[in-house]
């Protein structure tokens, strides 16, 4: 019987399937961090259980960590306690920890792929909704709650109902100044912040196939922002080339064996999806969000939709969002002053993102009214940026290159956007207060964020690119 990619990987991991019950799904790799694991470790202690497969569990500290002077003790007491607790728990239960000071430390969804831990065909979970990032390699990867973290600790399995499948095809060529972040913000704006709920999404089509691994991770990362359990992309030569030679990737005979299996990981031509959507890459402009959920996005030259045009029962929520943002309906964002630019998060903090920004800002300088933070996704990304001299370019532009962590994506550490200020952010969520109490977030691509940094206002990056390359 023909199968989708999700079905192939799912079926290969079902320990038990019984009518009326969710499947018992085997989990190959469990990633953990300091925020959603302590109560799960506590649960094990209460039940007198060990971590069942500690070698399939990898930990890092990312959500709470400072992004300056990381080797000094963490100033904020509760953050320090939580990070220390992770260190103690990992030592007690025999889990490998890439904590502060370790050369592999970084955002959990950045380090998995760069270390070759994330591989095609795997099942991977983490107590973090952006675990969908790893789907870029053709893995089933999804976020779980803390009770489920405890389940995986205890059994290396999860009780899960098989998800519905959706295929989203993006075909054709992207325009100048348009990248992976714009593709995913465009899709979410089209289908809404709830449009993918209940589904696992497979991204396909020529525009997706043409993307680098970093760009594919950006797409899969934001699957959760349309409610999907996860998103994935069939592995291909781009995937295999990225993985080969990485720290924990298979090598020698193991590589050949793995590669042979990975090449079977695609949706069969006549496989049935529960839903199929198709988009044309040429229709996508640089995107920006104007509201307080990631579905409230538009092409940067468009006007914010009129409140009057919203369905009657949604008008109240819609106007509440615009009031929070301080925007008028039916108005353009072009030229609106910006206070902060944040380039980072598990969505856009990889070396390719930093290179793209550096390439654009080389020889330019940030506007005086803007504070610019660049937060690399990992120690390895930070080191690579320095090796390539990107740090010098950022410094000359007045951008601050900081140390790795989740940072201002959710403001659990000191990196908060002040109340009322506008931040163009390459992160994934523009919820009220997400980047700091009453902070106002506009989600965009690294290029659009860099353009705002240089001009001090919302800018169509294509206008600046054309000046360079007429």
């Amino acid at each position: 019987m023909s199968k989708t990619l999700v079905e192939k990987i799912w079926d290969a991991h079902v320990v038990k399937s019984e009518e009326g019950f969710p499947d018992i799904l085997y989990i190959d790799t469990h990633l953990i961090h300091e925020v959603t694991s302590p109560q799960a470790f506590d649960g094990l202690r209460k039940r007198g259980l060990p971590v069942f497969r500690p070698k399939q569990t990898v930990a890092t500290a990312d959500h709470n960590v400072p992004t300056l002077n990381q080797l000094l003790p963490i100033k904020e007491e509760l953050s320090r306690y939580q990070v220390d607790m992770l260190t103690k728990n990992c030592a007690e239960f025999g889990v490998e920890l890439y904590g502060l000071g370790h050369p592999f430390q970084g955002i959990v969804h950045v380090i998995g792929p760069e270390l070759g831990i994330t591989l095609p065909g795997k099942t991977m979970v983490c107590g973090d909704s952006h675990t969908s990032t790893h789907g870029a390699f053709g893995a089933i990867a999804f976020g779980i709650g803390t009770s489920q973290v405890e389940q995986v600790f205890a059994t290396q399995c999860l009780l899960q109902s098989k998800p519905k499948t959706m295929k989203i095809e993006v075909n054709g060529e992207l325009g100048k100044g348009v990248g992976a972040k714009d593709i995913i913000l465009y899709i979410i704006a089209k289908i809404s912040a709830a449009g993918g709920t209940g589904y696992f999404i497979e991204y396909a089509g020529s525009a997706i196939e043409a993307l680098s691994m970093e760009a594919r991770m950006t797409i899969c990362n934001m699957s959760i922002e349309m409610g999907a359990r996860g998103g994935l992309i069939a592995p291909d030569q781009t995937t295999f080339d990225y993985i080969k030679g990485r720290e924990f990737a298979p090598a020698g005979e193991e590589w050949d064996k793995a590669l042979a299996y990975w090449k079977t990981l695609y949706s069969d031509a006549d496989a049935k999806f529960d839903s199929v959507l198709t988009f044309d890459a040429a229709d996508i402009a640089p995107m920006i969000t104007y509201g307080t959920n990631p579905g409230m996005g538009m092409g940067i030259q468009e006007h914010i939709p009129a409140t009057g045009a919203q369905p009657e029962k949604e008008k109240l929520s819609y106007q509440k969002a615009l009031d929070y943002m301080g925007f008028d309906d039916d108005s353009s964002l072009i030229g609106k002053p910006v206070d902060y630019v944040f380039i980072g998060s598990c969505t856009n903090s990889r070396i390719e993102d930093l290179r793209e920004v550096a390439d654009f800002v080389k020889g330019k300088r940030k506007a005086d009214n803007v504070t610019v933070w660049i937060v690399p996704g990992s120690k390895q990304v930070e080191q690579q940026a320095k090796n390539e001299g990107l740090d010098k370019i950022f410094e000359a532009a007045g951008f601050q290159l900081r140390e790795p962590g989740c940072s201002a994506c959710l403001g659990m550490n000191e990196d908060k956007i002040p109340a009322g200020k506008y931040c163009v952010s390459t992160s994934n969520r523009n919820f009220e207060g997400r980047q700091g109490q009453n902070a106002r977030t506009l989600l965009a691509s690294p290029l659009t964020a860099a353009a705002a940094a240089v001009t001090g206002k919302i800018t169509d990056v294509r206008d600046l690119l054309e000046k360079v390359n007429p």
């Binding site: 009326g20 969710p22 018992i24 306690y81 107590g127 389940q151 399995c157 659990m412 207060g433 009453n438």
Partner: protein, 194 residues
């Protein structure tokens, strides 16, 4: 895990769509390492001013409304996977949440803690909001065994779906770990065969 069978209660109405888990419990309150005490920060930034004074216009600060059932607009619980959202709602005294649509991870987290997420139709949700508008003390009856929710005043009733396994977990107070641990031999066999 807390058991759930049946309840009759007035409700706390929150007629807003796309309520994300950052609103339910902001990230700065996720630094605790236990499951208790999150209720005081439930909807923190909607509920309190910066100086911790209650905001008079927020429903949880209005003594007219109370009850064990939270009723909210569609796509409730979207965003972050933080189980702290379910813990906070439960810790604040709620035993059930009603919406016309739930985000997947939130729904799973709620079920894993004995907090019943009840998905009703848009029309029935509107009827509940109407009933509460007319009479803030209007009660709902939630019957898990029969999978029904009833507006007591009008008698209007709707059935809701729930996975039969999760239903029995809630009624009996079992959790998934108990269930999977009983299958450990199968898991070892699966690993051998891999």
């Amino acid at each position: 895990m807390k058991k759930f069978t049946k309840l009759t209660s007035a409700v706390v109405p929150l007629n807003i769509e796309n309520i994300d888990t950052d609103q339910i419990i902001p990230a700065r309150f996720l630094k605790a390492t236990t499951r208790e005490g999150f209720g005081e920060n439930l909807f923190r930034d909607w509920r309190y001013e910066n100086d911790n004074q209650p905001k008079a216009d927020f429903v949880m600060n209005n003594p007219t409304y109370s009850g064990q059932v939270l009723v909210a607009g569609k796509n409730f619980g979207c965003g972050s996977s933080r189980e702290h959202a379910a813990w906070a709602i439960q810790d604040a005294g709620f035993d059930a949440v009603i919406s016309s649509f739930f985000a997947d991870i939130f729904k799973g987290n709620a079920l894993n803690n004995g907090l019943l997420p009840i998905q009703v139709s848009d029309e029935f949700l509107a009827q509940i909001f109407n009933a509460v508008d007319n009479n803030p003390k209007s009660a709902l009856e939630v019957d898990l065994e029969n999978q029904t929710v009833t507006i007591v005043e009008t008698g209007a009733q709707e059935s809701f779906e729930i996975n039969p396994y999760k239903k029995s977990c809630l009624i009996n107070g079992y959790d998934d770990i108990d269930f999977i641990l009983a299958q450990k031999e199968l898991i070892a066999e699966f690993e051998q065969a891999k």
